[in-house]
């Protein structure tokens, strides 16, 4: 039986990502980040990107993440919940560029971020969340009282591409994740026109427990085999 396209070259797997694209990048505090795909994108120098990702380390942690695209000057806008580290002692590239007005930020509560991504993947036109009522996160947002409680209206957040990382894949694109490296990856997989997965192996169909599959292959367009820790 045929399966999903499997690439061994991250550059080839991401070659059609154009300048100006909106790209989701999986990962949380460095775990589950598709580092090889990000490096390929950086090396190609694709600019004007909008990056949807939970957090940016910016060299503050030992982990690599989408901050490497920011540092290379390729990012126009970031949509994130944790764009800067708690400590202000050494401003990151993002913080400097943002202060200089060279990079735009849409700051979202983490649960609103992931639910907006889920809504895009699940065909929900919008939803009401209690998170952020009475805070700066309510600014410009419709407030609605439902059953006596205030909610904010939030729109779905889709992307052109999702770059994610999984622990194991089969050739039909079914994915499982390891420990807390799951995080945003399965939700982002549902919400992009093209989902590209960095993984160490593409196992034969039937190699994964069908009840333990976290991302059904229907959400996955490409697999990229990247050995080792990268």
């Amino acid at each position: 039986m045929p399966g999903k396209p499997v690439f061994s070259d991250p550059a080839q797997a991401t070659a059609d990502i154009p300048a100006g694209a909106t790209i989701m990048v999986g990962g949380f505090t460095g775990r589950g980040v598709p580092v090889a795909l990000l490096r390929a994108l950086r090396d190609r120098g694709v600019g004007g990107l909008t990056i949807v990702t939970n957090d940016l380390s910016g060299g503050w942690s030992p982990w690599e993440d989408a901050a490497l695209l920011v540092e290379a000057g390729l990012v126009r806008k970031v949509i994130a919940s944790f764009p800067i580290p708690g400590s202000a002692s050494t401003p990151t590239a993002f913080e400097r560029l943002h202060r200089e007005g060279k990079i735009e930020l849409e700051l979202l509560p983490q649960g609103t971020l992931v639910e907006r991504i889920r809504a895009a993947g699940a065909g929900i036109g919008g939803f009401y969340t209690p998170t952020g009522v009475g805070t700066p996160f309510a600014e410009g947002k419709e407030v609605r009282v439902i059953d006596g409680q205030e909610y904010l209206f939030e729109l779905p957040l889709p992307a052109d591409f999702a770059l994610i990382r999984a622990h194991r894949a089969d050739v039909l694109g079914n994915l499982v994740y390891r420990r807390a490296a799951r995080n945003f990856n399965p939700t982002m997989a549902t919400a992009a026109r093209v989902t590209i997965v960095q993984v160490e192996e593409a196992l034969p169909a039937g190699a994964l427990d069908p009840e333990a599959v976290v991302t059904p292959g229907i959400y996955v367009q490409r697999l990229v085999l990247v050995g080792g820790a990268a």
Binding site: R118, P210, P216
Partner: protein, 222 residues
């Protein structure tokens, strides 16, 4: 008169199977649509989705080999292909509503020239079951109707307006019947293929709205 017989259900199913492209994910409704699974192209990756949380529905199990927990949306025992996977209804309808299915093949009581679909309720019964029909009709990227061209009484099922309660408004892309293949276009219904031995006039006589006849009209082939 043999050439004038409507096509058998199996042939309609085979014709639809030919539409399915490599890499497609497909939901098949109960009845005629389910037969499509028997004619999937083996050289292509076509994965069957069942809305009760099965992706990769395989052939029916041998008698006595049924897994009591594994069924399709109609409750019939099924098998799982290697590489199939299982999930709950929340995920399954996220897939459906989120437009991840490439095509749904659905039965119909009535289809309108605007692509409206009615397939869940006979008004005279007073109550009906919608199941996943409304979600699938609206959510799949393409909706193909598979049905007999007329009712048992010979009344048209392709109508200017559906009189039965709708499953979805403006959702049908193509109609595959035992007489014809008809595309639903913004300009109206386009007769593209016709059963061997039948004429466009004969098909039109069994269809309420006006059919445009494709300049490339051809016989239904397999």
């Amino acid at each position: 008169m043999t050439g004038r017989a409507p096509l058998p259900r199996e042939v309609v199913a085979m014709r639809i199977a030919r539409e399915l492209e490599d890499g497609w994910y497909v939901n098949l409704g109960i009845g005629l649509p389910t037969l499509v699974a028997n004619y999937l192209p083996p050289d292509k990756l076509v994965v069957i989705h069942s809305e009760n949380g099965v992706l990769g529905v395989g052939p029916a199990p041998e008698l006595g080999q049924e897994d009591p927990d594994l069924c399709n949306a109609g409750g019939q025992p099924v098998t799982l292909i290697p590489g199939g996977c299982l999930f709950g209804h929340a995920e399954s309808f996220a897939i459906i509503r989120g437009r991840h299915l490439d095509v749904a093949v659905l039965g119909a009581l009535q289809v309108s020239e605007g692509g409206d679909l009615a397939n869940w309720m006979l008004p005279q019964r007073g109550v009906g079951s919608i199941g996943g029909g409304a979600d699938i009709a609206r959510g799949a990227k393409r909706v193909y109707v598979a049905m007999e061209h007329t009712t048992r009484e010979g009344e048209p099922k392709i109508l200017r307006q559906c009189s039965y309660p709708l499953t979805g408004r403006g959702v049908v892309n193509a109609i595959f019947t035992d007489l014809a293949v008809i595309r639903v276009s913004p300009q109206g219904l386009l007769l593209e293929e016709i059963a061997p031995g039948w004429t466009p006039e004969e098909v039109q006589a069994r269809t309420e709205p006006r059919l445009m006849v494709s300049p490339a009209l051809r016989e239904i082939r397999l």
